[in-house]
């Protein structure tokens, strides 16, 4: 699943490490999310969307082909 985490995070000027701390996960998890290597749980997706003050659909792009 594609996502806009990196784009939105950079817009907000937050470092990966700080964002990881805010989400309660490791920096590697954020890195894997941004590169699309790892898909988050619904809880983490919700937490990320809530932090960005967006809906899950605005942050995560559901690709039916995948």
């Amino acid at each position: 699943m594609k996502n806009r985490i990196e784009e939105i995070r950079k817009e907000k000027g937050i470092k990966q490490e700080d964002f990881a701390k805010l989400m309660g996960v490791s920096r590697q998890t954020i890195s894997s999310l941004e590169t699309g290597k790892y898909n988050p749980s619904i809880f983490l997706a919700y937490k990320i969307a809530k932090y960005f003050e967006m809906t899950i659909e605005e942050v995560f792009i559901f690709d039916e082909e995948i």
């Binding site: 996960v25 998890t29 894997s32 790892y38």
Partner: protein, 133 residues
């Protein structure tokens, strides 16, 4: 589990290790048990040092808690167990046939029983988890 309880368990391993190693030195038990005692001393001591650091160092505590609760780490751990189990079954299945061809019936049987045991455990776990979820 609370940190205090974990420390007590580590102290228990450490004391058990010292007793086993002591018994080994005085020839009360054989080298297998004294070796195990040495290993328990190592494990117990390392765990105690880690727990003390965990209690006294807030940065380390935060790092450990994130690492322990990180969902990607949990996912990776689950996948690693799944792969390990799958590889174990495959290797032992090949071993069963290979040892039989080589004429080593004992090892062939051991491999076959191992595969059966893992598959039985898998199905039990599957049935239990199917009820849970």
């Amino acid at each position: 589990m609370k940190i205090e309880k974990r420390i007590y368990i580590s102290v228990f391993w450490l004391i058990t290790g010292i007793v086993l190693l002591g018994c080994g030195i005085f020839d009360i038990v054989d080298s297998f048990w004294s070796g195990m005692g040495g290993a328990l001393i190592g494990v117990g001591a390392i765990r105690i040092v880690q727990f003390v650091k965990y209690r006294k160092n807030p940065e380390y505590r935060e790092k450990v808690e994130i690492e322990a609760n990180d969902e990607r780490n949990k996912f990776i751990a689950m996948r690693a167990w799944a792969w390990s189990g799958y590889c174990f079954v495959m290797i032992n299945s090949v071993g069963t046939i290979a040892f039989k061809i080589m004429g080593n019936d004992l090892l062939s049987q051991y491999c076959a029983y191992s595969v059966c045991l893992v598959l039985v455990l898998y199905w039990l776990a599957y049935l239990l988890l199917r009820r849970k979820y």
